[in-house]
């Protein structure tokens, strides 16, 4: 909301410069989001009298003027205006003055120009006699501005303007209003806080508020048929208005806060709303059929044309203002075209009402139509302010539009405002704020914003050392209801910066459980980073079809369900579903980097994926959300260097890193089971018969067509498995030498090496400490169906191994692989 600094000063003498005012507002919770200077300060413009004029010797349309500024030292000024004449009193911009001059082709664009002494066609000119547009007073450039004959020669023009209630220099202060402060959506509301903080009185305009009834009651009747949605409806009538332009000062007020002046009556309703926060509506009384107003909710969906000439569909239950025959306004949102004030209007009905905030909010949301009125009503206007605002507007219409006030008013008030009060304990305030604020200061601050704190007898409150107040709450503060709300106001007005920090604070005597899961995540992240992987963060939202494509039963989330999670209100269809896998995000990142010329990437991400399915892992019914760890690499894995040649990534690079992760988590014996799926080289990973994730290859659809090798781990499962192992138990290191044996086995190619190795480990028994594959060989003397796989075995024990101990184990291994797979020792 824009506050004009000049307008604000009409209600409080604060004596603050603009920067100090900005700081004061920000520090009391009315955060200044922006500050814009309006107009020039006209410093250097003085009132002068034209003593003498002569035609310019070298230019037909220029006049050489001798201008007195009352200093006894007249200036020569060359002027091009057609209306310049001897004897005129005029605003003179002297040399050195900076004016915001409008662009002749685009008058809205203004550039600062500093005046210098110049020669115009051979004649000196020591300043400029100004037109209204050059001073920022209007768009008028027909001629120089001629002042009344009593304008004092030599006086500052800005000061003279101020006496005429005109100031061209102002600041538009953009204040961010939090939802709890409906009282501050007006100049008086902001002025109230300023007045409280600078300890200066709030000065309100004198308004004669009429008694209900009188002649007005004979002119109109008001029936509230929905009293729960409209607590009050005040109507006042002004007759004989002449619709026309508003005076300069009023237009200036409105343009300063970003409103476009329309006509005097509409401008006055807007002015009063920005003055006190009460939205008003002016009806053309001649268009109000039956001189009757009814307030009621629609019973069916219907159409209505608002005063911006748009037809709108109103949902059932919309609160409407109706006359004797039809709807004339959407209550609290916008008036209707059928009854708006036009150039022909003479009699005006002023509406000033209190509508139930949530009803107005629902309507504004349903119509996607937020207006200055709805913005205020949905936050809650002062329930006691309707008559004042209507009377203020009526008074201005009489003054500025030549209207005549019809005596009295109609005040339909089915739900009168009940004054509210709350008990506030000084002790409680101290406990919350953490500092003792003197009793008198508390009372002074509260009184300044319209509260009435009354100290209660101490007897009623045993154990309270500080006073307990019964605080009557101001009607314009619907956010204040409870004791804590009043304590907040005390803290706010006292100033958060005045709350001292304690020298020391205690912490509770309890020990949180160590966060092992988070520790594992941090470890795997830093391990991957030190092994050459770059961590990425990808968007969780993607198109539905793409999400569905990655909900594959091979992948961790696809294990759990078949439906992706969609949002009801996506920003675009490109982001309508939640990711069921981290893979699509990584493929996008790989494609992005390839398109930017990167030949090899290795990425990882740890993040949450979603599937629409009830499971034993569901926190929210019907949805399963798990954390997965994705590794993905593509393109160059090893760069060309002097020690070796370049090569691309393959699945065993990723597998090696996955095995390293499992090893670091002490998960021994993870099995890689060849699996079918949409990707080649796919394997499920299992530990202790539990699914741990998947590794495989895929493609990022781009020009290179290079494979992407990836692994996606069900991190929740991996983490749970790792934590189930508990703390490491030290194992005594054998003092006896180990024995190494190599075995080269010839076996059918169809036998997976992983299976062979697992069987060797099983058959090797306790003495077999380690077994690894050191060679795979095909061809040579081997048949086409065979290959040779060489294993390196290490035996050990806490005693000296004898040859036949090892021989027995090796024999057992050879028998096992021969029986199960037909494997023979290579000759």
């Amino acid at each position: 909301m824009i506050i004009s600094a000049n307008w604000l000063s009409a209600y409080v003498h604060h004596g603050l410069g603009i920067d100090a005012l900005e700081n004061l507002l920000t520090m009391c919770g009315l955060e200044v989001d922006g500050l814009e200077q309006i107009g020039s300060d006209l410093d250097g413009v003085v009132i002068g009298q034209i003593e003498h004029t002569a035609p310019h010797p070298n230019a037909d349309r220029l006049t050489c003027c001798t201008v007195s500024l009352g200093t006894g030292n007249p200036l020569q000024i060359v002027c091009g205006a057609p209306n310049v004449a001897k004897g005129q009193r005029v605003p003179v911009a002297t040399v050195g003055t900076t004016l915001l001059l409008p662009d002749r082709n685009d008058p809205a664009r203004k550039t600062p120009v500093t005046l210098k002494k110049v020669k115009l066609r051979g004649e000196f000119s020591e300043g400029m006699i100004c037109a209204e547009d050059e001073l920022g007073l209007s768009d008028n450039h027909d001629g120089i501005m001629v002042l009344p004959g009593d304008a004092p020669v030599g006086e500052s023009f800005a000061r003279w303007l101020a006496e005429q209630r005109v100031s061209v220099h102002d600041h538009a202060i953009d204040v961010a209003i939090t939802p709890n402060r409906p009282d501050a959506i007006s100049h008086i509301g902001v002025a109230r806080d300023v007045a409280a903080l600078v300890a200066s009185p709030l000065r309100l305009p004198e308004v004669a508020v009429p008694e209900p009834g009188g002649a007005a009651a004979d002119r109109i009747s008001i029936d509230i048929e929905a009293p729960e949605l409209c607590h009050r409806y005040v109507g006042m009538v002004v007759t004989g208005v002449r619709i026309g332009e508003s005076p300069a000062w009023l237009k200036q007020r409105l343009t300063a806060v970003g409103l476009r002046p329309r006509n005097n009556v509409v401008d006055i309703t807007n002015f009063v709303m920005h003055e006190c926060g009460q939205p008003l509506h002016a009806f053309d009384l001649a268009m109000v059929e039956g001189r009757r107003i009814r307030v009621r909710a629609t019973r069916t969906e219907q159409a209505f044309v608002t005063l911006d000439d748009k037809e709108r569909r109103l949902p059932e239950g919309t609160l409407m203002i109706c006359d004797g025959a039809r709807e004339v306004a959407i209550a609290g949102v916008m008036g209707g075209q059928n009854s708006e004030v036009t150039d022909e209007t003479t009699d005006v009905l002023i509406e000033s009402a209190w509508f139930e905030p949530s009803s107005i909010r629902r309507t504004a949301k349903a119509l996607s139509l937020q207006t200055d009125a709805s913005y205020r009503f949905e936050r809650g206007v002062d329930p006691t302010g309707q008559a004042w605002a209507a009377a203020r507007a009526a008074q201005l219409m009489c003054e500025l539009a030549g209207g005549t006030l019809v005596d009295g008013m109609v005040d339909a008030h089915p739900t009168p405002y009940e004054p509210r009060s709350v008990h506030v304990r000084g002790e409680r305030a101290r406990a919350i704020i953490g500092v003792d604020i003197p009793v008198e200061r508390v009372e002074g601050l509260l009184a300044a914003i319209g509260c009435t704190p009354v100290r209660l007898e101490k007897d009623g409150f045993p154990g309270q050392d500080t006073p307990v107040w019964d605080v009557t709450l101001p009607p314009y503060r619907p956010d204040m209801e409870r004791e804590i709300d009043v304590i907040e106001e005390i803290a706010r007005l006292h100033g958060y910066d005045n709350i001292p920090e304690p020298e020391r604070s205690s912490i509770p005597n309890f020990t949180p459980d160590p966060d092992l899961e988070r520790g594992l995540k941090a470890r795997v992240r830093s391990q991957l980073a030190s092994r050459g992987f770059r961590e990425i963060y990808t968007n969780s939202m993607l198109p539905v079809e793409k999400a569905q494509a990655f909900l594959d039963p091979a992948l961790p989330a696809g294990q759990l369900g078949e439906r992706v999670v969609e949002t009801l209100n996506p920003i675009t269809t490109e982001m309508a579903a939640l990711r069921p896998s981290l893979l699509p995000g990584a493929l996008d990142a790989i494609r992005f980097n390839r398109n930017h010329g990167r030949r090899g990437v290795r990425f990882f991400e740890l993040g949450r994926v979603h599937v629409r399915k009830q499971s034993d892992r569901s926190v929210i019914d019907g949805f399963t959300e798990i954390e997965t760890l994705l590794l993905a690499a593509s393109g160059v894995w090893k760069k060309q260097g002097w020690t070796g040649s370049e090569r691309d990534v393959d699945i065993f690079d990723i597998k090696g890193h996955v095995e390293a992760i499992f090893a670091s988590l002490r998960l021994v014996g993870v099995r890689f089971l060849p699996a079918d799926g949409p990707f080649p080289q796919l394997a499920r990973m299992e530990w202790d018969n539990t699914y741990m994730g998947i590794i495989g290859c895929t493609y990022a659809s781009d020009v290179t067509g290079q494979a992407v090798c990836f692994a996606e781990l069900d991190w929740d499962a991996v983490s749970a498995a790792a934590l189930s192992l508990g703390t490491v138990r030290f194992e005594r290191i054998s003092r006896y030498p180990r024995v190494d044996r190599d075995l080269a086995l010839v076996v059918n190619k169809q036998v997976p090496v992983g299976t062979l190795l697992a069987d060797i480990v099983e058959a090797g028994g306790d003495l077999l400490m380690d077994a690894s594959v050191f060679d795979v060989f095909e061809g040579g003397q081997l048949s086409e169906k065979e290959r040779s796989v060489a294993f390196s075995l290490t035996f050990g024990a806490h005693r000296t191994l004898r040859d036949n101990d090892v021989d027995t184990a090796v024999t057992r291994i050879l028998e096992a692989v021969a029986t199960k797979h037909g494997a023979q020792l290579r000759a």
Binding site: R181, I432, I433, P502, P512, N539, I620
Partner: protein
């Protein structure tokens, strides 16, 4: 010593041992188990007449020791020729490349924040991104049909029931429901806002929120902990200010700014908002069955992106989700 042995002795002393090959040949000639000369001499000991056996044994043994001594000398001489200054290695050749990885700047910033609060005795909790309306809004004192709900534009999954969390505060509710006070917890995580994507806002971001509920907790304590945090993040002479604000779940509420020096600006710098905070609203405590007359508490929350952008001077939030390696590689690990 017999003549044979003396000849052998000469040979042992004279054989040049300058290369690896010569050393191996020497070892095999004298010490090989099958054909070594010394080995053969040793094997003959039982055949020597008993009266000569002792001398013979000593002589052969002396020869063996000489062989071993020469072998050791030669070996040492050979390896010392690989010592610095004597070898041919061009050490200025680059080392074998170890690929460089990196941790995302958001992870690094989040870790920094979480570690700071861990060191002040906060435990860490996480929750799900899909939440219900009660935990995300109702329990946090957001009234139905109230403009406060506009402060957080929400992605809904099921009308009025299930949504993507707009903040990590629902986790605080879950923690308070699961354990009695004192509660001293910090909650990092990903949150979502239905806002147009631009250089300053993205459809999701990360938050770290904190909560402390105990007896005798006041706003002064809140200022203390947040000032400590600001010093950890921005240095010991950081300037900080608290200004009143509004959040439905805290009262009084505040926003915290730090002074960001910038010599190019008219005032020599500007205030930048880094977090929101306040005293836990009694309605929130009541929603989780904690008596607000006995317990009070403070809560605070900050956007990790905002802090990361401030720390690293990043001016477009979208860069954080583009995953351009030229960007990522600047952050190391």
């Amino acid at each position: 010593m017999s003549e044979d042995l003396a000849t052998l002795r000469q040979e042992i002393e004279d054989t040049p041992l300058g290369t690896e090959e010569a050393i191996d040949g020497f070892r095999i000639r004298f010490l090989s188990r099958k054909q070594g000369v010394i080995t053969a001499l040793m094997k003959r000991i039982p055949d020597i007449a008993p009266e000569n056996r002792k001398t013979y044994g000593q002589d052969v043994n002396a020869l063996k020791q000489r062989v071993e001594a020469r072998l050791e000398e030669a070996q040492q001489a050979l390896s010392s020729s690989n010592a610095p200054g004597t070898d041919q290695t061009d050490i200025t050749l680059p080392g074998r490349v170890v690929p460089e990885g990196s941790l995302h700047p958001l992870t690094q910033t989040m870790d920094l924040i979480v570690h700071a609060f861990s060191s002040y005795g906060f435990q860490i909790a996480e929750g799900t991104e899909i939440e219900d309306d009660w935990h995300n809004f109702t329990a946090l004192n957001f009234p139905e049909d109230h403009p406060a709900r506009d402060m957080q534009d929400t992605f809904f999954i099921e009308e009025g029931k299930t949504l993507l969390r707009t903040h990590t505060s629902p986790v605080q509710i879950r923690v308070m429901k699961s354990q009695p006070p004192p509660v001293r917890v910090i909650v990092p995580g990903r949150v979502y806002r239905n806002e147009a994507i631009s250089y300053k806002s993205y459809c999701l971001f990360h938050q770290v929120e904190g909560l402390y509920v105990d007896q005798g907790v006041s706003m002064a304590d809140l200022k203390h902990i947040l000032h400590a945090f600001a010093r950890t993040l921005f240095g010991h002479d950081v300037r900080m200010r608290f200004r009143p604000s509004f959040f439905p779940f805290t009262e009084p509420s505040a926003e915290v700014d730090i002074w960001w020096p910038d010599p190019d600006l008219p005032g020599g710098g500007r205030w930048l908002e880094i977090l929101g905070c306040g005293m836990v609203d009694p309605n929130v405590l009541e929603a989780v069955d904690v008596d607000p007359e006995v317990y009070t508490g403070y809560a605070f929350g900050m956007g990790v992106e905002r802090i990361a952008m401030l720390r690293y001077g990043i001016d477009d939030i979208r860069t954080l989700y583009e995953n351009d390696v030229r960007f990522l590689k600047q952050f190391k690990s």
